[in-house]
Symmetry: C2
Subunit: 343 residues, 2 copies
């Protein structure tokens, strides 16, 4: 077994300067790639840096410059939202881009109540806003560059990037209507999230536009969980006049609906058409590939980091920019024209 070394005596800029035979300011200049330091001195410094394996102290740098390259990602610790494909995609997207841009990613799983410590953070990304609007306002008040994703915020002057949830949902339902469906049910996500409520909105808009009016029981509200999706599916399919199509607010719920249908002997897509939302790869498997609404999660995540880094750089004028990313209907096998059904 190898022994863990004692903390290496921290080598500072002074040591480098000494070894290179120059002043510390010269060292500082070369490690900051600033002005041109003369050839000889430059190489000597570089040499010393390498030899000593010198790494500048980020704290001293930040103290001196007053700048920080720390990005805080704030995610409400909300069960439903965090247990999803969505959360992981977001973290992946943001994490990898931060890594590439040499930004430090601080993960903040907030309980929405506490006001966190903003000191030392160079930029903030709010992923969703669920009962923590005050945290956003606090952040804005502090003057730290901030951006909100997956939530369109219109009453505050803050950059945000959201998905066109309403549009995506509407499109999906219109597709179903185009297939001849009229009895289209919706299993919504947790309406506390903007995404879920917008999807519901889109669903309703598509129906209204086509003058379709449905009984209230065709809309079932859930918390995004598979358990509640199952309950909803059972309720829907056992209706005396069941829907011929179901649009769910997430793919994992759609998958659950499929499972219930199969158990009940309801064939997909012959007897029931299903459209999900997410384009979760899981939807590809199973006997019938799921038709779904693809949302550019990774793009949203990465875009947010890119924008934020610009804001943090201070190069960009803080013109408030609100973006809505389009969705795309991915047609696979879980839907069928209602006329071709032998129902």
């Amino acid at each position: 077994m190898r022994r863990q070394k004692e903390p290496a005596k921290n080598i500072s800029i002074k040591h480098v300067a000494k070894l290179a035979g120059v002043s510390i300011s010269t060292v500082s200049r070369v490690i900051n790639k600033n002005s041109a330091v003369k050839g000889k001195n430059r190489t000597q410094v570089l040499e010393a840096v390498k030899q000593l394996n010198y790494q500048p102290s980020v704290f001293a740098q930040r103290l001196a410059t007053g700048k920080s390259n720390v990005v805080a990602l704030v995610i409400p610790r909300y069960e439903g939202i965090f247990y999803s494909f969505y959360a992981l995609e977001l973290i992946r997207g943001i994490g990898t881009l931060c890594e590439a841009l040499k930004l430090d990613l601080l993960l903040h799983l907030t309980d929405t109540k506490t006001s966190f410590n903003l000191k030392g953070v160079g930029g903030i990304i709010f992923a969703d806003l669920i009962g923590n609007k005050h945290q956003l306002e606090e952040a804005l008040g502090s003057g730290i560059p901030t951006i909100v994703i997956n939530n369109y915020v219109d009453h505050l002057e803050v950059n945000c990037i959201a998905i066109d949830n309403a549009g995506g949902a509407k499109n999906a339902v219109k597709y179903l209507i185009g297939l001849g469906h009229r009895l289209i049910a919706h299993i919504s996500g947790d309406l506390i999230t903007q995404a879920a409520s917008k999807r519901l909105e889109g669903y309703e808009a598509a129906l209204k536009e086509n003058k379709i009016s449905l009984p209230a029981e065709f809309i079932i509200k859930t918390d995004y969980s598979r358990g509640q999706a199952r309950l909803a599916a059972e309720k829907l399919l056992k209706l005396s006049r069941p829907p011929t199509a179901i649009f769910t607010a997430s793919d994992s719920m759609a998958l659950e609906v499929m499972a219930v249908a199969r158990e009940l002997g309801v064939r997909i897509p012959e007897d029931l058409s299903i459209v999900g939302f997410d384009d979760n790869p899981s939807g590809l498997y199973g006997p019938v590939a799921l038709t779904t609404v693809r949302q550019p999660l990774i793009k949203m995540a990465q875009e947010s980091v890119r924008e934020l880094s610009l804001l943090m750089g201070g190069t960009k004028k803080p013109i408030t920019k609100k973006t809505i990313l389009p969705t795309e209907l991915i047609i696979r096998e879980s839907c069928q024209s209602v006329s071709s059904s032998k129902n």
Copy 2:
């Protein structure tokens, strides 16, 4: 629309001292809850802090003390591992505990090649080790408190917390054997991960212990993805002498096997018994609840933070501690005694 405020002129310890009519050291003392500052001064300082909404600069503090409460979580950016229930559970567990302990969580999605900047980090948690052992060695060399989770590391003097993957797998297979099964196949995860290879080991150990020898095609290696699980299941179920039971290295793969079985008209558990690994809540749904091996992911995550914080506090002597957490077989409905099968 509200305007975003200009960066508030940073109020420092000096301002507080001035307002409170004391020296900065007194202020420092009270914010550090150190020695008892006399009643009057204390209240005045507290008052000033509140009035000015003062928050100490973490950078200055760290510079001065040389200590950092930043915990870096290093996760190899490895597709298979990151796209899982597992990853999210880990992040959740670690994230929430860090939040509670007031530790800053730095997320590091590493590509296993680069050697990252260790400066400014107070402690490190390696989640899995996949081709980044050199990063671990580097961390150890730097003297920063480090802990490895989900990987038993025996050739280095480092604390680690792992799951008893071999034991869990062995138990699962023994359970199957106890049910009368002999033709037990295994769909493994990506053997680049220790978890997957240990589970395979456990599977083999159980067979060996019971003197069961099976053809090589009863073990199929995958990358943990549902796609490969599907392929594996199809291959297995179409064998001229197919298995009566399948043990998979993850629940999501088990679920996929179930789906394939259903499509092929293979009944579960009558014709085929299935055991997964993870205790992923998704296993609860679907027509047949999945029997699985529960692993204490959240516990492992939280334990790691707790241990690390002790190490970082320096209170605890660095006695290397290697922990293996037990698993638990959760028996649900996806297995049946082979004799009661009407095969």
